[in-house]
């Protein structure tokens, strides 16, 4: 049985923060099963696993109010800039693709946020991959392969723990101790709350699952001058961002795949290539008839950092998202982004230009599963209804 409570935010939540606050409520307490904010921002509804009364309820409400206060008080309204708007491009499908994806075994959920996809979706993803690779080739981007694991000390160096602690995924292994390993082999079993094994069996965490692709490139360039003064590179990789209750279908996965085209060099080199990449992708999106728009955005920083970092990204127009229409839910989904990090990584990792100044970096990133999902949400699973360029490539 679920238990519902309502909380009135102590600070008025402006419309531009409703989605951000709602998504962060997932991290307030393990007892929360679902969180929803009314459109006017005046009521927070929580569905709970267990009822809460008295001091426990008060403590829960205090945590909710802490989130609201941290994100709302003194928040700067973002400056939304729309660079392209093709969201009214006619598309033939308005249905919810999820039921059909599941019925056809084109999508299978192993656990929350962990999904496999079938042959049709895989071929569709491969088609998009070829287009993104062509974009990378148009910049002469050098190909790289990066690991799925990333050392904790790397992420610490770029302040990732402070900015996105809620979405980290940690990696460990059994301690090198014969008794521990024997005990695990004999007794380990999956219970209601996961793998049942003593926490002291596990080694200290030194490694995480990588949350982004481009970080690996920056770390490989750290603490030395950038050879040649500029670099274009590309790689595809698994990325991991734990999103708690917000994990949804192919829209928001814990483990997803990103193709990135990465630029490192002087400011103009990075900004010019980011802009050229956007122009080239516009032509491709027109070819496949995608309904979308490109607008300024911010990364999902955690509560303490959100206000300042999001305002900074917005003010300097550092991030633009490609938001594809999802007709069945009358909303949009970010399928890619054009990013500029200024000299943040150059400074944090001591990567320098020939004149000794820190490099600037940027990347164009595409979420492959999301790209396929958005296309299917607009064109359905019947290939006969797809634009010819996609149908021919996937057939």
């Amino acid at each position: 049985m679920n238990h519902e409570i309502e909380i009135k935010p102590a600070w008025a939540i402006p419309p531009f923060l409703i989605g951000e606050v709602q998504s962060k409520l997932a991290y307030v307490d393990e007892n929360i099963l679902a969180a929803r904010l009314t459109a006017d921002g005046e009521t927070i509804g929580l569905r709970l696993r267990r009822p809460v009364e008295g001091p426990a309820r008060q403590a829960l409400e205090e945590k909710v109010q802490r989130v609201v206060q941290a994100m709302v008080q003194g928040a700067f309204k973002p400056k939304v800039q729309v660079l392209e708007d093709y969201s009214d491009r006619p598309v033939p499908y308005r249905g919810d693709p999820n039921a059909e994806l599941l019925a056809r075994r084109e999508m299978f959920q192993e656990a929350a946020g962990i999904l496999t996809v079938g042959p049709l979706v895989t071929r569709l993803i491969d088609f998009f991959e070829r287009q993104f690779l062509a974009l990378a080739d148009s910049f002469g981007a050098a190909p790289y392969r990066f690991p799925t694991l990333i050392p904790a000390r790397f992420l610490e160096r770029v302040h990732y723990f402070r900015a996105f602690p809620h979405s980290l995924t940690f990696v460990t292994h059994l301690r090198e101790d014969l008794d521990v390993i024997d005990d695990f082999a004999q007794h380990a079993a999956c219970g209601e709350h996961g793998l049942d094994a003593p926490s002291e069996s596990f080694a200290p965490i030194q490694t995480l699952l990588s949350p982004a692709v481009c970080y690996h490139l920056y770390f490989s360039l750290a603490d030395r001058p950038l050879p040649g003064g500029s670099l274009a590179a590309t790689a595809v990789g698994n990325c991991f961002r734990y999103e708690s209750l917000n994990l949804t279908s192919l829209e928001r996965m814990w483990n997803f795949t990103m193709r990135e085209v990465i630029f490192v060099g002087p400011k103009d080199f990075v900004l010019q290539n980011r802009e050229t990449g956007r122009q080239r992708m516009r032509a491709f999106f027109e070819q496949i008839g995608l309904a979308y728009h490109v607008e300024s955005a911010n990364d999902p920083f955690f509560i303490g950092e959100f206000k300042k970092q999001a305002a900074f990204q917005s003010a300097f127009q550092l991030k633009f998202e490609i938001r594809a229409r999802l007709p069945f839910k009358d909303s949009t989904l970010a399928v890619g982004s054009y990013n500029y990090h200024q000299d943040f990584f150059g400074r944090a990792l001591n990567i320098t230009l020939p004149d000794g100044s820190p490099v600037h970096t940027g990347c164009i990133a595409f979420g492959l599963e999301r790209m396929a999902y958005a296309f299917l949400a607009q064109y359905g699973l019947e290939t006969a209804d797809w634009p010819e360029i996609v149908r021919r490539a996937v057939a």
Binding site: G74, F76, K77, P78, K79, E305, K307, K308, Q309, A311, F312, S314, A315, F316, Q317, Q342, D343, F344, R347
Partner: protein
Amino acid sequence: MENVELLESVRALLAEAFSLPKEQISPDLAFGGIQQWDSMGHMGVMLLLEERFGVPIDADLIAALTSVSAICEYLGKREGQS
């Protein structure tokens, strides 16, 4: 407020935001000029400007007030208008 007085106030504000002695805030200092004036440091400056000078910070100002001289010029103009 005289120009020199204004400059000293701005230097003091930045010194407070970055937890540095005022002597380290030179009149030609700009965003990125010292380690402390990064994105988070910049937003700290903006919040202090709002608090101490009543500046209604918005996205345009965040992007524009990226040096000691730009902050002084903005505050000087604002004072002239009041």
